[in-house]
Amino acid sequence: MASDTTQPHPHPHPAPEPDPFSPFAYAPAPESRAIVDIAPSYGHFIDGEFREASDGRVFKTIAPASEEVLSEVAQASTEDVDAAVRAARKAFTGWAALPGSERAKYLFRIARIIQERSRELAVLETLDNGKPIRETRDADLPLVAAHFFYYAGWADKLPYAGYGADPRPLGVAGQVIPWNFPLMMLAWKIAPALATGNTVVLKPAETTPLSALFFADICRQAGLPKGVVNIITGDGSSGAALVEHEGVDKVAFTGSTAVGKMIARTVAGTRKKLTLELGGKGANIVFDDAPVDQAVEGIVNGIYFNQGQVCCAGSRLLVQESVQEEVLDALKRRLTTLRVGDPLDKNTDVGAINSAAQLARITELTEAGEAEGAERWSPSCELPTAGYWFAPTVFTNVTQAHRIAREEIFGPVLSVLSFRTPDEAVAKANNTPYGLSAGIWTEKGSRILQVAQQLRAGVVWSNTFNKFDPTSPFGGYQESGFGREGGRHGLEAYLDV
């Protein structure tokens, strides 16, 4: 606008002068911690009550954003695991005999309590995991409640699920879940197991045990019969003891491919039924006719959501060469607006890495990326000094041979590769031992269908990414695991079919 305001400007207060560096800096907007009351210590939740570890061993759980100790939790020994499995076994007969409509009542009740306590749970999850409150509040908790509501609906309709007139539960499910979506993974495991009449022993990840222990309290609040849900805490050895336990009929694991392989070996040759949801190296494919602004949002959501600690992350960006420059410019511009910092601040987009070990893994792989000749870029952002932090990172000039194009980083690190034709895009996307997720960005509907059919990935998103819904089955190909969670398909893993 050209200026013709040569007239005097008598008003004492004209428009506020924009500060050239930070004209509209959002003031801190922290969510209150006071809403959540974390006890100094927690025991295992076995047979409807909290009890200390049989051998008294405990470990600390910390807030990864500050390294502050949040609480002390029990380390499950083989005796604890045994007690939990026995409790689940004891509860199984009664639970499985309940009419589906009665089991549904408990699940509906749990879902409603989760909604009522969602703010508290969101703050707790953010503290223990390090992810931003915006994500726990707007993504994790709504999905957790939705999952329980959804499977509550199935509990009295199992005869119509396509698994026979009277499908039977398996028995005791031993479930081991990861730290990236602690409560959501719990919901994915427990909701279908209970709906189908199984009882469970669940072990949350060592670094994020708290929300599962709060869930135990929700089970009590809902009046769930004792022993139907048991929660034990501990490290990998506790998980191994659970998986190996004779009394477990079904093993469900979400986590790394390496641990998944160990579990598969342990379970091989037993009666135990197994589902594994493991790692991934998802390809996000951007064609030259993509809606660019939305594709950029999808790329950001694909790899920086939850600090990239997502098994189905779009960690490989495959962009058509003819629009590569345009897309990368737009992506970098967008990344400069990402807000990294205090996870409890409502305006934070990217929070803390979950643990020192994970941070070390991300650091190691990104150093390998640089050493192998890929070009590294990050927006300038000030990282807090305490806690575990990693700036959002983009690698360009990445080739299929680079480690950062092949190995799962599980962090906010995007590897950019290019392609020339749809065939090449498909070939590169499929050139991975994994096969969990993929994304297709194009305005051309026929191309979406054609490419999606050729991709070896359990989930293919088109013109979106990292969208979850309890009605939609989720799971992998190849080394990303087997079995499906969510939807009607998710019932199968917990039924004797």
């Binding site: 428009a15 924009p18 509209f24 959002y26 003031a27 602004d293 409502k346």
Partner: protein, 325 residues
Amino acid sequence: MSSAPTVPPLADVTASDASLRRFLHGLPGVDAVGLEARAAMLGTRSVKTTAKAYAIDLAISMIDLTTLEGADTPGKVRSLCAKGLSPDPTDRTAPQVAAICVYPDMAATARAALACSGVRVASVATAFPAGRSALPVKLADTRDAVAAGADEVDMVIDRGAFLSGRYLQVYEEIRAVREACVRPEGSTAAPAHLKVIFENGELSTYDNIRRASWLAMLAGADFIKTSTGKVAVNATLPNTLLMLEAVRDYRAATGTQVGVKPAGGIRTSKDAIKYLVMVNETLGADWLSPEWFRFGASSLLNDLLMQRHKLSTGRYSGPDYVTVD
């Protein structure tokens, strides 16, 4: 405004109806779900304390305080001008608004009331709001407003021509109105600024809104504006976000900066702050001033004043403590 390059970029685009059509249809598509999700996400930003105080004053200073009614009278317009000059009579630190927006026959009244205050006179023109008149009528309407002292002209595009694909006609009409914004012979004042209204609710698709944005900017719009406020769907967060992306891309392509004005339906401080957050995170500091972003609104001002009062006193005083104009 950035100085125009010697050879205007994209000049060949408007050489013919066919080339203009090819260009507009070659713009990247808009995924509606993704656009709406992004706008909704930005709507969750929490703007508190000092940031809120800054945003409220900025929003007030960006308002085109508007009255566009058949029942408008000189008295009503003068009252609105007084409000715009001094929005809060009890607190002189409240900034004045950007402009008073009226019908062309009220432009002279507004001009006289605002004098040299710095608050501008904006006049709608071109047979606002429907735009269903012959071009000479629209041009006469525009010249009339300019002659009456309008600093800014808010024109409407011919949605009929746009929707039937006669893009060059729409382009040439905007060019002609722009010409009509030039002051009469002998005046030293700069031409009136041209805001081009699309009526997004009638264009209906996001792809159309992106095309209209580029079309208007190619034709020399100083501002692009969402809507008249006279139809069912006016400014929304997603359609404004899309226009923000268009002005961002246009400046990257041509070096020319264009302003954006959402109008209609923005009534609360909360809404206004959501728009400012979108500007902040899509365009940044360069657009965070009344020179580049406006709100077409009437009732918004009082809500901003009530929120402003609450921030400074800690109490919510209620609607009886702001003036009704």
